[in-house]
Symmetry: C2
């Protein structure tokens, strides 16, 4: 079952063989050999003849279906036929949820572009959103070096967690261990979103007429003139790090200033960083070009 | 084994009980009951007396060690005593790697602040970086609603993958299925980093004296004066969406312009978005305050 050597087969080899897999692949190099043991665990009956046919062609000659079979064969399914599948927000990077995929779930995700898992409790396929309508629209799928862990990189239609939370990860160990009061919904926020959340809290304090602690963010939120003069000033300072050939740390610092002040403005306008990133994505990806053309 | 009702116990209840856990928790409400079945699978011998003592105290009275025991008891370890553990970059949101944690691995991660896993192949604890020195410095740990999936949110000292790749997820299914040539190291990049990568490619084309396709990014990279005038102009336009009360979509669009043009400047200065976010984090987190004070 070796794919014949061709100009493209080395790319295929690179895609299909990770160092961690050495013990599972019978032989490789310019030829691809499927891991026979791997197939034993597949819950979905695969089309052996199509795989076999695929194995005798170069990557360029394969049909899309055959390529998908090759891909599914390359996953290191565990003894239950499963691999970990992590859904991640393509714009924010937030980890939305984690489940497991079997061969059929991954195949369904690839064809439907909706994040699909294998529910271990119900022993059945489960597309996130089939009940709530909050689908996760998958833009790409990634496999790790071991080929036993999958990322569904996509855009959620709404909150992912069945509790209504944006993501399923809202229990912070730090909060639990260091505070006597456990805060609600402490999402696993990365830096930009953690800052956004802080600014949003300051804004909520002002709106609730809570005197709150004095802070620079508070002053900016209360004084639009000051805020805008700062944004213009920081943008100018960022430019000057290039024009006056200042060092890299100055550029990073000035860019941090631009970002922070601009995010205070976004908070005042009730615009989320995620919305800005979505605008960027639509502009700079293929679908963005299509989107732009469709508006003409 | 019920924690006595107190002003804080409802917070503890909220932290420890997720809807998905109902079937595992004997009873709850103002009282916490540990899941006895859960303990059967723990590979690490837990200090039953400390857990028992903990169970009779309110959260405020618990020692840190007892709180950790309560936390470890609350995880829904699988039949092998494991839970999925995902390491995520606190600044970029990149999923670095995924492994499994047992009770001891999670306890070690919490105490050492280094991402630690249970290696299923070697049946032993494994701290990422113990060989490569590329530790993942964990800032916080999050549990999901099912309490069987863990995020180690932290900062990597260097590339996480044993292949030298920044993350273990570098095999894109889209690339494999849609292109005859499989690109090397197509990392699972979210929007901002995907844009950064595109700008960086344009810069590399110019440096390689490759005529390349004409593009706006290319023009900006070649004309610092134009770039800086655009950054100042876009910052001004962003401000005007607030000053002139324009609609939200205008703010999102102008902010996208600011971000994009500023990122071209960062590329020229060889500054990564990750460095900017690190500056922001150090400024706005507790450790940032300490860091600032330490410089006084």
């Amino acid at each position: 079952m070796a794919i014949s050597s061709s100009s493209s087969s080395s790319s295929l080899t690179r895609f299909l063989t990770a160092p961690c897999q050495k013990d599972r692949i019978l032989s490789f190099g310019n030829n691809i050999n499927f891991n026979k043991n791997n197939k034993r665990n597949n819950k979905l009956c695969i089309n052996a003849s199509s795989s076999s046919a695929a194995a005798n062609k170069s990557i360029k000659e394969l049909t899309l279906d055959s390529k998908v079979e090759v891909l599914l064969d390359s996953v290191k399914w565990d003894d239950k036929g499963l691999a970990v599948a992590i859904a991640q927000n393509v714009d924010t990077g937030a980890i939305l949820m984690q489940g497991f995929a079997n061969r059929e779930a991954l195949a369904t995700t690839i064809s439907s572009r909706k994040a699909t898992f294998f529910s271990r409790s119900r022993s059945s396929l489960w597309t996130k959103g089939e009940t709530s309508n909050n689908f996760i629209n998958v833009h790409d799928v990634f496999l790790d070096c071991d080929r036993d862990s999958i990322i569904y990189l996509g855009k959620p239609d709404g909150p992912t967690c069945h509790t209504g939370s944006e993501t399923c990860y809202y229990s912070s160990v730090n909060n639990f261990l260091n505070h006597s009061k456990v805060e609600d919904s402490t999402l696993a926020l990365t830096t930009l979103y953690s800052l956004e959340s802080t600014i949003s809290q300051r804004k909520a304090e002002i709106e609730a007429d809570d005197s709150g602690k004095p802070s620079w963010t508070r002053r900016l939120l209360l004084d639009k003139k000051l805020l805008c003069s700062k944004i213009r000033e920081e943008a100018d300072e960022l430019c000057r790090t290039l024009e006056e050939n200042e060092d890299q740390s100055r550029s990073a610092s000035e860019m941090a200033d631009v970002l922070y002040h601009a995010m205070v403005l976004l908070a005042l306008k009730n615009v989320k960083a995620e919305e800005v990133l979505e605008v960027l994505r639509l502009r700079f990806t293929k679908s963005g070009i299509e989107e732009k053309n469709s508006r003409k």
